[in-house]
């Protein structure tokens, strides 16, 4: 069974940016690429980045922020009243 995860999370738009990476601090360990459940972190030409549309896919678990030993990833919860809505948690 291929679990279709599209559409399994409800969201309220208007989060603004809440995740960023400081490439000067990033040591390219790629732990963020491994840990992200939604597979939002990518690598291109040796640089790590988060996909542009992350705001509409992120589960707000903050694993990328926590796993980053270099302290390169910044994460702040989305604005109050926006972002994911968990109804069956």
């Amino acid at each position: 069974m291929n679990m279709e995860i599209e559409g399994l999370t409800k969201r309220i738009l208007g989060t603004g940016n809440f995740i960023s990476i400081d490439l000067n601090k990033c040591n390219r360990c790629e732990r963020c690429l491994v840990i992200c459940v939604m597979n939002l972190w990518r690598k291109k030409e040796g640089k790590i980045y988060i996909i542009d549309e992350y705001q509409s896919k992120c589960l707000e678990c903050a694993a990328c922020y926590q796993v980053c030993d270099a302290g390169a990833i910044k994460f702040q919860y989305p604005k109050g009243g926006t972002g994911i809505v968990i109804e069956k948690g």
């Binding site: 926590q66 030993d69 919860y77 009243g81 972002g83 109804e87 948690g89």
Partner: protein, 466 residues
């Protein structure tokens, strides 16, 4: 600027409990929630433990299906043992046993609820007691004056002043970070937990699962995966410490979902995936740095989930209550120094939570080494336990010969099992009994004696009449 006696950041069960108790003590309290309503940002933590019903009976008797339709008692648990080939090799079903001493623990292990129903329910106790709840508000910083914490600042720059701030803001606690109590957890202090919610009809769950409403899937190809049944659905999730993952966490969770046995269960339950969630869960052997000048951390923010099974709501409620009691004691005096707030630690350490953490290190260690080390441990643990439990149910040989085969096979696991027992089981037992068990049961002696004992078993069956 708005002025309060006590500010609580977070309206989960811990924050709401703290707000309720503090308001009842006569303090002017505000508590903040970043969701539009409490529970909207929470996944898991959905098993209410019986200690809540023992310690807070007046509150808990108010929790009824009309207020919380998702309620389902987690009466019996089933432990599925999944072998290296992803086949369910056996299981143990268990209900609360004879030695369990009080109700409702005699009737069920957990009461399962969705947080979107439970958290608003508990927050209402706080607002009914007079605490002010401000929703859709993210607290982004602490208000400081001459370096001293004196309140909080929200994302719009609005300031709220109080002599004491309780951080009930979960695993990523802004209060912990901004007060300098913790920058970030160490990688072995926090787990990542992805989880699916499946929809299934209440009748199907009743018919198929009966009262087996908790499941743990133990396997060697994934970390132990839990299954929690609600009135009209269930969770399937798993977790591990941050430094463990070598593939996308969903890869491991999907291995559980894709077990043949599991697929059959989904089919007969007519279950459909309904939500995908992921969260971080602090999982420590002992909570440290729980308070600073003008700040107390409770619940997940303070690292209080149970060191063995990560039960989170009860510890959050207990620490929330204690934080509020300490607040009402110290706020009139104006002394909210770290030295005075040490009372918080002294008080929670005397509770059931404190008792849990007395063996915290040993519990944490054994759990980490067993279900959360699938390749290293479960790969031999599952076949060994199934040999012991199920080996005799077999028609391949005369039964006496089967017993010898089983013992001989179990013996072959001794080189793997003995170091495990010595490293994790004996320390836990000696801690639990607080006895010099290691003197009574010197592991070296055991290692010498055990094979000899097994050698004493007859190698060949004597002929009748000899």
């Amino acid at each position: 600027m708005k002025v309060f006696d006590l500010i609580i950041v977070g309206a989960g069960p811990g924050g709401s409990m703290a707000a309720k108790v503090a308001a009842e003590e006569g303090l002017k309290v505000i508590f903040f929630e970043r969701g539009r309503k409490p529970g909207e940002k929470n996944s898991s933590g959905c098993g209410l433990g019986p200690r809540m019903f023992r310690d807070f009976p007046e509150m808990m008797k108010d929790l009824t299906p009309d207020k919380c339709p998702s309620m389902r008692a987690g009466t019996a648990s089933r432990n599925y043992f999944v072998n290296n080939d992803d086949i369910v090799a056996g299981y143990i079903m268990a209900r609360p046993t004879e030695s369990v001493s009080y109700e409702p623990a005699k009737s069920w292990i957990t009461m399962n609820v969705y947080r979107s129903e439970f958290d608003p329910w508990i927050a209402k106790f706080a607002t009914d007691a007079g605490a002010e709840l401000k929703t859709s508000t993210l607290i982004v910083d602490l208000l400081k004056e001459n370096g001293k914490i004196c309140g909080v600042i929200d994302e719009k720059g609005e300031k709220y002043r109080a002599p004491l701030v309780v951080g009930a803001d979960g695993v990523l606690s802004t209060v912990a970070q901004k007060s300098g109590l913790r920058n970030k957890w160490a990688q072995n202090q926090v787990t990542l937990v992805p989880q699916y919610d499946f929809q299934a009809s209440s009748d199907k769950i009743d018919d198929i699962m009966g009262d087996e409403t908790l499941g743990v899937w133990w396997g060697s190809n994934f970390p132990a995966s839990y299954q929690v049944f609600f009135n009209d659905g269930f969770h399937q999730g798993l977790g591990n410490w941050m430094n463990w993952w070598d593939s996308n966490p969903l890869y491991y969770l999907n291995r559980v979902i894709n077990l043949k046995y599991y697929q059959r269960l989904l089919k007969i339950l007519d279950a459909k995936p309904r939500e995908l969630q992921a969260h971080l869960l602090p999982w420590l052997d002992f909570p440290i740095n729980t308070h600073a000048d003008g700040v107390i951390l409770i619940g997940d923010a303070g690292g209080f989930p149970c060191p063995l099974e990560a039960e989170g709501i009860y510890p959050a409620m207990v620490t929330g209550k204690i934080a509020a009691e300490v607040a009402s004691e110290v706020i009139p005096s104006g002394d909210v120094s770290k030295a005075t707030l040490k009372k918080f630690d002294e008080k929670w350490q005397k509770t059931s939570i404190g008792k849990e953490f007395e063996a915290g290190h040993e519990l944490w260690n054994i759990w980490k080494a067993l279900p959360f080390s699938p390749k290293e441990t479960m790969s031999w643990f599952v076949p060994m336990i199934m040999e012991i439990l199920g080996g005799i149910f077999d028609w391949s040989q005369p039964h006496a010969l089967r017993v010898r085969q089983i013992i001989s096979h179990v013996r072959s696991y001794i080189p793997k099992a003995t170091p495990f027992i010595m490293a994790y089981v004996i320390p836990l037992l000696s801690k639990v009994f607080e006895d010099d068990l290691d003197k009574l049961m010197d592991p070296k002696k055991i290692l010498k004696v055990l094979p000899k004992l097994l050698d004493m078993l007859p190698q060949k069956k004597k002929k009748r009449g000899d």
